[in-house]
Amino acid sequence: MADKPKVAFYWCASCGGCEEAVVDLAEGILDVIAAVDIVFWPVALDFKVRDVKELPDESITVSFINGAVRLSEQEEMARLLRRKSKFVIAFGSCSHMGGVPGLANLWDRASIFAWYYHDAPSVAPGNVREPREHVRVPEGTLELPAFWDTVKTLDQVIDVDYYLPGCPPTPKLLADAVGVLLRGDLPPKGSVLAGTRALCHECPLNESKPEKLLLKDIRRVHLTKVDPEKCLLAQGLLCLGPVTRGGCEALCVKGNMPCTGCFGPTDEVRDQGAKGIAYVSSILDFDEEADIERALANVPDPVGTFYRYSLPRAYLMRTRKVMPHA
C-alpha cells in the first residue's frame, strides 16, 4: 500500500459535475484505485483536513483540484494541497479558467449579497440576515469562510502543473492524464492535457462548411431546427468550436448542440471571449446597421456566451465598478 502513488481530489467553487466525471470512469475507476492510494476525497471518502495536514510535504503524487476559488477556505485548501503534492492538476473549466462561477466577477461581494439576501423577489421582505465570517452564539464564536470580492482561477492562487479542461473533463482525458503521470512521461509544465488544435479540426461537421463561411443571421439553438449534417456555425448558431481547444471529440456538436467553449482557448490565445467576439464579428456579413441590431438581439447575454467559462482569465477579468441590478 505504501508504495502506491498517493492521489487527492478536492473541490472548490463548482457544481460537482467534475466529481461525477471521476466516478464516470466506471470500471476504469477500479484500475485507478488499484494503481493508486487515494488519500483525500471529501465527496466520496471520509478523510479530514487534519489527515492531509499530517502528511509530509510533497508526499501526494498528484492532487486534482476542481472548482474556482471564491472562498477563503478554498484558497487555504488549495495552498495546503499544493504544499503536500508533487503535482497539482487544475481539473475542469472552473479551476482552469474560472468557469460559470467566474461570471460572478460581473458583480462584487456587496452587490451579490445585496441581491441574494435582500433584493431578490424570493427573499422575505425585511430580511436582515447575511452570512458573516464570525457569528457569536452562546457556545462561543462560529466561523464561516470569507467570501472574496473576486472569483479566481486555481493558478491565480497557487502554482499549477497541468490543466485538465472541460465542463467536466471527459473520462478519456482523465484516464489518459492519470496514465501519463503514472508512467512518468511528463509533458512540459503548464500543459493543457487535451487537444492542441481548435475543435473544428476534429469535428465531423467541419467538412460541411460552405466555401465562404459568412453569417447573414445569428440564431438561437432552442429556436432552431438543427440540420445534423451541416456545420452548426454555418447554420447561424454561435458554435465556439473555432475558438475552443479540441480533445472532447465534439461531444456537444454530435448532440446537435453548438460548442460553448468549455475546453478554453488554444495555447496561442489568452482571452477566449475576446477572440470569440473577434471571429464572430469578422464573419458577420451585414451591410445595414438594422441587420446587425437584429442579429445581436439573438445574443442576449454576450458575456455569458463568449466568456461562459473564462471570465476570470480574461484581460478584463472583472468589472471595476459594480453593475446595478437590472
Binding site: 492542441t196 488544435r197 481548435a198 475543435l199 473544428c200 479540426h201 467541419n206 467538412e207 462548411k209 466555401e211 465562404k212 463561411l213 459568412l214 468550436g241 473555432p242 475558438v243 479540441g246 482557448p265 488554444t266 495555447d267 496561442e268 490565445v269 477572440k275 470569440g276 473577434a278 471571429y279 469578422s282 464573419i283
Partner: protein, 661 residues
Amino acid sequence: MTNEEARIGVYVCDCGFNIAGVVNVPQVVGYARGLKGVVICREYKYMCSSPGQESIQKDIQDLNLNRVVVASCSPHLHEATFRRAAEQAGMNPFLVHMVNIREHVSWVTKDKKEATEKAKSLIAAGVARVVRHSPLERRQVPVRSDVLIIGGGIAGIQAALTAADAGRHVYLVEREPSIGGHMAKFDKTFPTLDCAACILTPKMTAVKNHPDITLLSYSEVVAVDGYVGNFKVKVKRKPRYVDETKCVGCFECIEECVYKTAKFPSEFELGLGMRKPIYIPFPQAIPLVAVIDPETCIEFKTRQCKKTCVAACGDRGAIDFNQKEATVDLEVGAIIVSTGFHVFDAARMTNYGYGVLPGVYHALEVERLAASNGPTGGEIVLRDGRKPAAVGIVHCVGSRDEHYNPYCSKVCCMYSLKLAHLVKERTGAEVYNFYIDMRTPGKGYEEFYHRLLAENLHLVRGKVAEVTRIAEAAKEEGKLVIVAEDTLLGGIRRVPVDMVILSVAMEPQPDREEVRRMLNMSCSSEGFFLEKHPKLAPVSTMSDGIFIAGACQGPKDIPETVAQAGAAAAEAIALTSKGFITLEPNLAYIEEQLCSGCQVCIPLCPYDAIELDREKMVARISDVLCKGCGVCVAACPSGAAAQRMFEDDQIMLELAGVLSR
C-alpha cells in the same frame, strides 16, 4: 531573441525644429541610455542625412550592434532609408525599428513636457519590441511582361500604344464593337477646336496595325486571378456573327441587307440615328468589322431570311450565323483599367423635362448632332428638322448638386462653351449658357472662354430651376422656357428657346462594382476607382500591378486622360521590365500545427490569399497574394494565423513598453 544578447543602438532625430522644437531631445536620449539592452543612444539634427545614416552604420560595425531603433518621422517616409543603411553595414534590415516621434508626438502635442514623456514611452516600446525582431528575407517572384488594358477609349488607346512601343505585348479589351470611347462621338474638342476624328482615328488605326497589340473588341474581362506580375485573365468574346479575320469592312453586306432602310436605333448614335441588323457603328470604327444584332436580325428570329448579306459578302464568307461566344485565357504581368465614364441620366432631374420635352437634349446627343459623321451630317437641328433660333445650355446637370453628385465634373463648362460655339457656327442661333460658376482652369482654357465671349454668347449666372413649355407671355408660345434666377441681376429670368442642351455630369460606370471586385480595387465614395495616393501614386491602386487611367478614376478631359494613360503605361512598363518583383516579408502566415481548418479567415482576406487544404484541413496563405493587412490574424480564433513584424509577442512587448512608465 535566442542566444545572442541584444545590443541596441537608439538614434533620436531632431528633425531640425520639427521634433527638437517640442520634444526635449537630450532628456529623451538620457532616458533611452538607461533602457535594457541599449548600448548607445545618439541625438542628431537630421538622422536621414548621410552623416546621420553613417553614424548608425559606424556604430553597427564598431559597437557590434544587433538592433537599431530610430526615433524620428513616420516609417512611411524613411523606413526604407534606415533599413538600407543598416543593410549596407551588414545588419539584416528587419532588425531596424522606427519610432514615430514627429507625426505621433511633436506635431500633435502642444505641451513640451507631455511631448517629451510621450517620446520616452514610445521609445521604450520600440526598444522592447525590437529585441523580438528576427532577421527576415525579402523574396523575389518572376513577372510576366504582357500587359492587359481594359477599356479602349482614348485612355486605353494611348496606354496601349505607349506600352506596345516599349516592347510589351498588349491585350486591349473593349466591350463595344469598336474602340474610341466617348471621344469618337465628338465633332470638335476644346479648347483648340480640333476635329476629334482627325486626332483620334490615327491612334485607333495605329492600335490596329501595331504588331504588339492584340485588340479584343466586343469582349469583356470576366475573371482575374493570380497576383502582381502573374495575373490569369479570362476574356469573354461576344459573338459578332461576322468573322473578324475575313471581314474587310466594305459595308456591302449592310447595303444589301433585306432591310432596305435602317430602322433600328443605333447605340453609337444614342438613338438619334438608325442602323440595320448588320452594321458597323461608325465609318472609322476599329476594327472595321460588321456586327450582327441577333435581336433584330430576321435570320435569328425566323431562320428564314434570304440572307442577302451573305450573298453580298460572297467569296469572303465572313458572315457566320453559328458563331458562339468564346473565352480567351491570358496571362499578363500588369493590368491597366481605363473603363471611362458614363453620362448622368438627365431624366432623373424631372424639372428639366428630358425625355418628356422633345426639344431637350443632353450634351452627348448634341455632340452627335454636331459630328460630321453623325445622324444629321453635322447639322444641329431639332427632331423635326427645324433649325433652332435660340438655344439654352444648362451647366452642372447632375454635378455640384447634393441630390445627385456633389462633385464638379470638371469638363462641362468647357464642353458647354464648345457646344455654344458649334451651335452658333452651325445655326446662327442665340445661345444662352446658364452656369453656376464658370470653371475654365487649364492651358488655353480661359482664352477659349474669352474667345466665346467675343462671339456674343449670352451668359446667365444662376442655377436653372426648370424647363417648361407653359407660356406666360406671347413670346413664350410654342417655345421651351428656361426659368432661372440670375444671381448677377438679382431676379428671375424666363428665357424662351427652341432647344435645351443639358450639360450632364460625368459619372462612374454603372458596372464599376463588378469591375472593382474582380480586380480587388477600391472606389471613392462617388464610385470612381481609387488611386493609391492622390498625389504621389495617382495611377496606382491598392492592388499591386493594377493601374488606372482616364475618366474611370474621376472626371477629366482628354489632355489629362492622355497624360494619365501615359503614366499608367510607364508604371506597367516599369513593373514588367525587371523580370521579377521583390516581396516585403511582413506577411501573414499560418502555423499549420495550430490551424484547425475552421475557415474563419478564408472569406475575410480582401486579396483572396487564403486557401483551404482539404486533405489536411488546414488553411494556407499565398505569399504573393498576401498584402499583410492583418485581417486574418486578428480573426483567427486559434491564434494559428500570425504576421511577421506583427507577432503577438512583439505587440505585447510594445504595449508593455508604452505602459512601463
